[in-house]
């Protein structure tokens, strides 16, 4: 069983992220990390490999060269191999342009299963898997709260607005997992040391056979026009608990006649 896991790098949650007012793109110059939602997809892939006793987990990332460290972290956690799609021509790719590049990278691997996390931790994008599956012409199931593989099929418990569906799809297929599907492991020291020896491919848009008009801004059909301030929520108060937080909460609620 070969599992491809798509990962991305996102700004650290503690970093003050901003959108560059000149380029109108996310400023990625601050501290960054592996998208926490993708850690669940990676964990699920590792469990499948472990249950299988055989197989391979390939982590695939599209992102600038500086994002390589986050992809190495996926190797340290346990992926067998990494593919980094990096090219200046990819900058500014929207959903469909991104899906085109990733679809090419995935199809080269001919995986039995493609896993994604529930959303990007930065853009809150939660639609990539469906665009990717369309381009790969594979079945897709999203919002997986559990995933079982048997008899060449993936059985997924999908959460929707109405409860849980059970959906079955033949392999190969694309599955997007929820962040409740598992508890991701941390990289071990051995894993971190071993990661340096694992295969790490860097591929360009050209290597994937992508033309300039399919990717980047040229290949994107959405544009960011401007930035504006969101409607204000009013003043907010922040306190640190010094043993008296409960009293302070009560005082706050009483003042506003909420109790």
């Amino acid at each position: 069983m070969k599992v491809a896991v798509l990962v991305k790098e996102v700004p650290e949650t503690s970093a003050r992220t901003r959108i560059d007012s000149g380029t109108l793109r996310l400023d990625r110059s601050g501290a960054a990390a592996l998208n926490p939602f993708d850690a669940h997809a990676l964990e699920e892939a590792l469990r499948i490999r472990e249950a299988d006793g055989d197989g391979e987990v390939v982590a695939i990332m599209m992102g600038p060269s500086g994002a390589a460290d986050s992809l190495r972290k996926a190797l340290a956690i346990g992926a067998d191999r990494a593919v980094h799609v990096v090219d200046d021509a990819l900058a500014g790719s929207d959903l469909v342009a991104t899906a085109r590049a990733l679809a090419k990278a995935v199809s080269r691997e001919e995986p039995d299963l493609v896993l994604l996390g529930q959303q990007g931790g930065d853009s809150d994008g939660a639609v990539l898997w469906s665009a990717l599956a369309e381009l790969l012409q594979l079945p897709v199931v999203s919002q997986a709260a559990s995933l079982e593989l048997a008899d060449g099929k993936a059985k997924v418990k999908r959460q929707t607005e109405y409860g849980y569906d059970v959906i079955e799809a033949p392999l190969p297929c694309v599955v997007a997992v929820s962040d409740a599907i598992n508890e991701p492991r941390y990289p071990s020291l051995k894993g971190i040391m071993g990661a340096k020896k694992k295969p790490f491919d860097t591929v360009s848009a050209g290597d994937l056979g992508l033309s300039a008009d399919e990717i980047g801004e040229a290949g994107s059909r959405t544009v960011v026009l401007a930035l504006a301030d969101p409607p204000a929520r009013g003043d907010s108060v922040r306190i640190e608990d010094e043993g008296d937080a409960a009293d302070k909460i009560l005082a706050y609620l009483s003042e506003r006649k909420l109790v």
Binding site: P139, Q159, G163, C173, S178, A180, S236, I239
Partner: protein, 318 residues
């Protein structure tokens, strides 16, 4: 602008969110059509006229019986190709988001999602999308056609303008790979668990509780406040608390007078279900938790100490 609105259905009714989007589309222009896609949905089609659709396409076929996205991509792609729609709008849902993204990829079209407003500016469609935990509002547009958009749930209220729609039957042709996924078991409405939608006060818990039995702390606080207990998706998926109490994108949307979030990081999935609450109090150990960005009172501390103390203080007041 020739607009097509995708109308989602559930248990014999058109979903409110998609009717809200249809209402908005009809306010932006009068060349508005809608599409229903399912099995036995033709009888729902005429209702779309009341919300502003001039034409409604009915893709009524047993192959569309399950709420799965890929066969619906086939239906919409054909409709856009045959009828030349330049704009296709969706109300956010698990199903609609997957349909929209698949359609965008098939058509090579631009898709903007999570929009909280749509307007015409000099004849051009402009969407507004909150970003970076809603700390900034991004104005987005499209290059070329069709323009695809997903509107954040609860953004537009449906309102009836009282028109009639012409219903047109559609032949359904489905691609092989679109039929790969099959529904073994459908979700059914859960009747168990308390109703949180009407609660005046909600005490909600997330993964920060640490274990399912800690919900007792929240139940006691809720009792002292005369409120109900809610949960995040993560703990509902983990089986800690009933699905009926889930607040968020795939759960309930609530707007109580007071919302106390304990051990909830406040990811967007949760936020969209509770941001309309009157006063939001958040208790979390992690000072960087996104929920502090939109809480009225943010308390950095251990909920396991603070919540029981607060319950006791409330009881002492009698």
């Amino acid at each position: 602008m020739a607009t097509l609105v995708y109308l989602e259905d559930h248990e014999g009714e058109l979903v409110k969110g998609s009717l809200g989007v249809l209402t908005k589309a009809a306010q932006l222009g009068d060349d508005v059509a809608a599409v229903v896609a399912g099995s036995g949905v033709k009888e729902l089609a005429p209702q779309a006229g009341r919300y502003g659709a001039k034409r409604v396409f009915a893709a009524d076929d047993p192959a569309l019986a399950s709420p799965l996205p890929q066969p619906r991509v086939d239906v919409l792609a054909k409709l856009v190709a045959d009828e030349g729609f330049d704009t296709v709008l969706f109300g956010a849902s698990v199903l609609a988001a997957d349909v929209a993204a698949g359609l965008a990829a098939r058509l090579g079209a631009g898709l903007n999602w999570d929009l909280v407003d749509l307007e015409l500016r000099d004849g051009e469609l402009v969407g507004k999308r909150p970003a970076l935990q809603d700390s900034v509002l991004v104005e987005v547009g499209w290059k070329g056609e069709p323009r695809l958009a997903i509107v954040r749930s609860g953004t537009f209220e449906p309102s009836e303008s009282g028109g009639d729609a012409e219903v047109e039957d559609m032949a359904v042709e489905i691609q092989d790979f679109s039929q790969g996924a099959a529904m073994l078991e459908r979700a059914h409405a859960e009747s168990e668990g308390p109703s949180i939608e009407d609660a005046d006060v909600i005490v909600a818990g997330g993964r920060g509780l640490g274990s399912p039995d800690r919900f007792e702390l929240l139940e006691e606080l809720a009792k002292a406040l005369g409120g109900a207990v809610a949960a995040t998706r993560a703990v509902v998926d983990a089986g800690w608390y009933p699905y009926a109490t889930q607040v968020g994108q795939t759960g309930k949307t609530v707007s109580p007078r007071l919302y106390i979030a304990a051990g909830i990081s406040g990811a967007i999935q949760h936020k969209v279900g509770m941001q309309a609450s009157g006063t939001i109090v958040a208790i979390n150990k992690d000072p960087n938790a996104p929920i502090f960005e939109y809480a009225d009172l943010g308390v950095v501390g251990d909920l396991h100490e603070i919540v029981p103390k607060l319950t006791q203080l409330l009881r002492d007041r009698g």
